[in-house]
């Protein structure tokens, strides 16, 4: 080879140029990556190692009208696993089941939660007890993927007492997630399932925060909460103020106790404020929080008293004689009758119409009564004739005008529409063309094709208690919305109220008078169509009334399923009203009816 120093120098320079050039090129590559693209790679590094742990926001506290707590938040524990793959999750759960009690169902549930939101920690125990948490904390080092978080847990201090209107919360379901209204929800989040929790979900929800845990390449949590990046604190929801009077609600629940089945609604007639709303028996929704226990749910589902069925909102019962006031109003509105009019047929315990004998509830008969007297005595014969005088078409149209076929419009999602014919077409559809006019007799006394909710009857009576317009029943404090309903003159309204006072003072509910306060109302004993063990038809006991009669502050509707005579409901309603008005009933409440 040529080994002259000049050649060597020449090649040396060439080599130096190449070596320097290559290193400068590499250096430029590093400059590009480390300085120019620094932000991009920093972000990638963080998405690599930071896992977002959701921090659930405390739901809004629900207060009653006096600032007493209806729904609260307490500290609960959520146990979840951060997994990168499903098989990792399964493996961790399998190992975990050796330490704490996890059923295969819970494992499958956790896997399903993971599939729906793989980037979020898969919740295993949505509501772990402190005992379980302390066991897990002891074994923490064995389960680096485990994330134990204290999170707000919904708690209803009064449990079953408030359940009928407050509802409960639960993990968002797959069906809900598929709906556009839940577009900004993520799997595993809590959502209102019933009652106020559902109706005011958007208000009560709050804004979820985030913590960032640092994980290593195998998904093990290396630095837990608040390690790498400051937390984004959740924004708690504002409190929700309701019209409920918790003391009254407790009192109502106490009256129903364990033995009575039925519902009660108490409304402030002028504003529509719902003071109490109860359905008996009532489930304890505290047990639903963090997942409904199957055994408890089954016991509720198979209970013949149907605790999961809200009798005040969903129960559709024939209104019986409480509906006679609707017939009265329609009669007065149309001018078919006045308060003092007597009917041609005197009540002798029943009347013949066509080839059928229609009985009055009182076999002894009421004699000849004015409309006022007929209301007080709840005389069926009078109302049969009033119905016939009005005709079915006017009676149905009048009922529709009184909102008997519409929801009361309470701010609870469970309310059901009453069943009431929208027009005569209903009967054409149901019976064909050749139905008998005798239907009007049943309809006039609140039987037949008419099923009302307790709430709707309370709304109707709140119209009677005021100037004839009904306020929309509202659990949550809002601006009262009144819609004209009963189109009577002030004189006629006063006469109707006087008739309702007559019910309590010498009428069917005379045992339920309240000392010092004039109570007005109407009893109802509705045929249920269900027979008892001896083949005798069982009746629902109704009472809808208000007090004080001259300036009503409260309207109460009470219905006792298979409760017998309406006087029994009247006694309960009377007690509720007395409790609210802080006065004593004349007769002490007894449950013998």
């Amino acid at each position: 080879m040529s080994f002259h120093p000049n050649d060597m120098r020449r090649r040396g320079i060439a080599a130096n140029v190449i070596v320097t050039g290559v290193l400068v090129f590499l250096g430029a590559g590093f400059f590009r990556t480390q300085v120019l693209q620094h932000d991009k790679y920093t972000l990638q590094s963080e998405t690599n190692r930071l896992r977002e742990l959701p921090l659930p926001a405390p739901r809004g506290i629900i207060y009653d009208r006096n600032g007493k707590v209806i729904a609260d938040n307490v500290i609960g524990y959520t146990v979840s696993v951060l997994a990168q793959r499903e098989d990792t999750l399964r493996a961790v759960l399998q190992r975990l089941s050796g330490t704490i009690n996890i059923s295969p169902t819970q494992i499958e549930q956790a896997v399903r939660r993971y599939r729906r939101a793989p980037t979020r920690p898969a919740v295993i125990l949505p509501d772990a007890s402190f005992d379980v948490v302390s066991v897990l904390e002891e074994h923490r080092s064995q389960f680096p993927q485990l994330n134990i978080q204290s999170s707000p847990r919904r708690f209803y201090p009064d449990g079953p007492i408030v359940a009928p209107f407050v509802g409960y919360t639960g993990e968002i379901s797959e069906n809900e997630l598929a709906q556009p209204s839940f577009a900004d929800y993520k799997a595993g989040q809590q959502v209102g399932k019933q009652g106020l929790e559902k109706a005011y979900e958007s208000v009560l929800r709050g804004k979820e925060g985030s913590q960032f845990a640092e994980v290593d390449a195998r998904g093990r949590i290396v630095r837990g909460q608040g390690g790498a990046r400051p937390d984004l604190l959740p924004v708690p929801a504002p409190p929700l103020y309701t019209n409920i009077d918790l003391d009254l609600q407790r009192y109502v629940a106490g009256i129903f106790g364990d033995s009575l089945i039925g519902g009660a609604v108490a409304i402030e007639p002028k504003t529509g404020a719902v003071l109490a709303l109860y359905s008996a028996p009532s489930p304890d929704f505290n047990r639903f929080i963090g997942g409904v226990p199957i055994a408890y749910y089954d016991s509720l589902r198979t209970d013949p008293r149907k605790p999961l069925y809200n009798k005040a909102l969903q129960g559709q019962y024939p209104p019986g004689s409480t509906w006679k006031l609707a017939t009265t109003v329609v009669g007065l509105e149309t001018g078919a009758v006045t308060m003092n009019d007597h009917m041609p047929i005197t009540c002798t315990g029943g009347m013949q119409y066509g080839n059928r004998y229609f009985r009055c509830w009182d076999k002894r008969g009421h004699g000849s009564l004015s409309l006022q007297g007929a209301i007080a005595k709840s005389c069926d014969v009078y109302f049969y004739q009033l119905g016939l005088k009005l005709g079915l078409a006017r009676l149905i149209a009048g009922g529709v005008g009184l909102g008997m076929d519409a929801k009361a419009g309470i701010d609870l999602p469970e309310e059901k529409r009453p069943r009431f014919p929208e027009s005569l077409d209903y009967f054409n559809r149901k019976y064909g063309r050749n139905w008998s006019q005798s239907i009007v007799l049943s309809m006039a006394i609140g039987q037949g094709d008419n099923s009302q909710t307790i709430l709707n009857m309370a709304r109707f009576y709140s119209a009677l208690a005021t100037d004839g317009s009904a306020a929309k029943p509202e659990i949550v404090r809002g601006k009262p919305e009144r819609t004209p309903m009963v189109k009577l003159t002030a004189d006629q309204m006063a006469q109707v109220r006087a008739a309702l006072v007559g019910v309590v003072e010498g009428g069917t509910a005379s045992r339920s008078a309240i000392k010092g306060v004039q109570l007005a109302g109407k009893t109802g004993t509705a045929q249920s169509g269900t027979l008892d063990a001896f083949g005798k038809e069982l009746n629902h006991a109704w009472f809808v009334g208000f007090a004080p009669a001259d300036d009503p502050k409260i309207v109460v509707a009470v219905m006792i399923e298979f409760g017998g005579h309406g006087t029994r409901a009247a006694a309960i309603a009377s007690a509720i009203i007395a409790n609210y008005l802080k006065v004593t009933p004349v007769v002490d409440l007894t449950t013998d009816g």
Partner: protein, 417 residues
């Protein structure tokens, strides 16, 4: 040569020491992970190897270049023998678990003979090339150097160890260049490989082929050489992609895995991506020594061996990268100077071959961390954890010290600092 006191090339020694210190401190940092692994203890092992390596280096400086020259062929044949032995009893380890790079006795891994071969083949090639009176002018004349590099190269590709194979090709070209082989001939020699690389794009390959024809016409090699070159280029550039496409995916994969066993280890690209993220997130000043989250959280693969430079990038930032580059550049410039001033063509070629070997390692390894080079599992000199390589690097330093000392102006010249 019986020198009592050897004039030591201190700049070379100091640079190599600085690089080793830098490297071991990074090996230490590489072990500092949030969930401790065995890597956490390896810096101590590396330190022991470093001490052994410096001792070996000192021993080598006591051997004259003449002794080295005399030992060249025996060392070469021992290397070849060991490489053949590996085909039968080689063991895998670490990031190259599926290859047969390790020589082991009774389950105890002694070392990687290919690291030793990197030096002995440089010595042998230097010996062959130094016998040329004139630099080779035709392809035919290159048969002997080709054979000297080709035999161990084939043995290494059988392990398979693509990384070391690339190093062999790299230093062989560099030494041909250093021996005075003209640029055109080097291009012609390299042309089939270039064709293979450019084969993915017909236009680019076409342009390359025209350039090659022009070069052949201008350089005027023997006719059959020209035809041979044209044929090999056509074969590599045109037929290879066609044949490749005809292969079933599993066959393609098998070939790729043969070339690089690490390809199939996990989802392709994961390693490089994590390395790039680590380097990129390091920024200008880095996350701080031992503090790199990518490394700490084990996102960075092979952080103490193949991807150790990503730790430098993440923890010490661009500044740390520049420092390493500066040290490597100083090392290369110094060794070029040693090669220029070597006393004879053999030692000059040895010096330049060792330089080229290091250079290819740095280029491929560092380029790999940024995805500028394919992943070949090639270590970074003085940095990557590994006993054999540390030993080999310092043996090279020792040889270079000796060559520098015997070189022109050795005792009185600029080297006698």
């Amino acid at each position: 040569m019986a020198t009592k006191r050897l004039p030591v090339d201190w700049p070379l020694v100091i640079i190599a020491l600085l690089l080793s210190m830098y490297g071991i401190s990074i090996v230490y940092s590489a072990g500092q992970t949030d969930i401790p692994t065995a890597v956490g203890r390896l810096w101590k092992t590396q330190l022991v190897w470093f001490c052994l390596a410096v001792a070996a280096c000192y021993a080598v400086t006591r051997c004259t270049v003449r002794l080295l020259d005399w030992l060249t062929w025996p060392a070469y044949w021992v290397s070849i023998a060991m490489l053949i032995l590996l085909i039968f009893i080689g063991k895998g380890a670490g990031t190259a678990a599926s290859t047969k790079s390790w020589l082991a006795i009774g389950g105890f891994r002694i070392g990687q003979p290919s690291e030793l071969a990197k030096i002995t083949v440089v010595l042998a090639l230097a010996k062959v090339l130094s016998t040329f009176k004139e630099p080779p002018k035709s392809l035919l004349e290159l048969w002997k150097p080709g054979l000297v590099v080709g035999v161990p190269w084939v043995l290494i590709m059988l392990q398979p160890d693509l990384g070391t194979g690339i190093v062999f090709v790299g230093f062989a070209f560099a030494m041909l260049f250093w021996s005075g082989v003209s640029w055109p001939l080097l291009v012609l020699v390299a042309s089939p490989v270039v064709s293979l690389i450019l084969a993915f794009n017909v236009q680019v390959w076409g342009a390359w082929f025209l350039l090659l024809i022009a070069l052949v016409l201008w350089y005027k090699p023997y006719l059959y050489e020209g035809i041979f070159l044209a044929c090999t280029n056509v074969l590599f550039g045109v037929l290879a992609p066609i044949i490749w496409d005809k292969l079933a995916p599993y066959q393609q994969k098998r070939l790729l895995v043969f070339l690089n066993p690490d390809i199939d280890r996990r989802a392709a690209g994961y390693h490089v991506l994590q390395s790039q993220i680590a380097i990129g997130s390091g920024g200008l000043f880095g996350k701080g020594y031992t503090q790199g989250p990518q490394k700490r959280l084990a996102f960075l693969p092979a952080q103490h061996t193949d991807f150790i430079f990503a730790v430098v990038g993440e923890e010490l930032g661009f500044i740390g990268v520049l420092l390493a580059f500066t040290l490597f550049l100083l090392l290369f410039l110094r060794v070029t100077k040693i090669a220029e001033r070597a006393n004879d063509s053999y030692s000059s070629l040895v010096a330049f071959g060792l330089l080229a070997s290091w250079f290819v390692h740095v280029l491929v390894n560092v380029g790999m961390t940024l995805n500028l080079m394919p992943i070949t599992g090639i270590p970074l000199p003085f940095f990557s954890y590994g006993g054999s390589f540390m030993l080999a690097s310092w043996l090279a330093v020792g040889i270079l010290i000796r060559i520098a000392a015997e070189g022109r102006g050795g005792r009185t010249g600029p080297f006698a600092i």
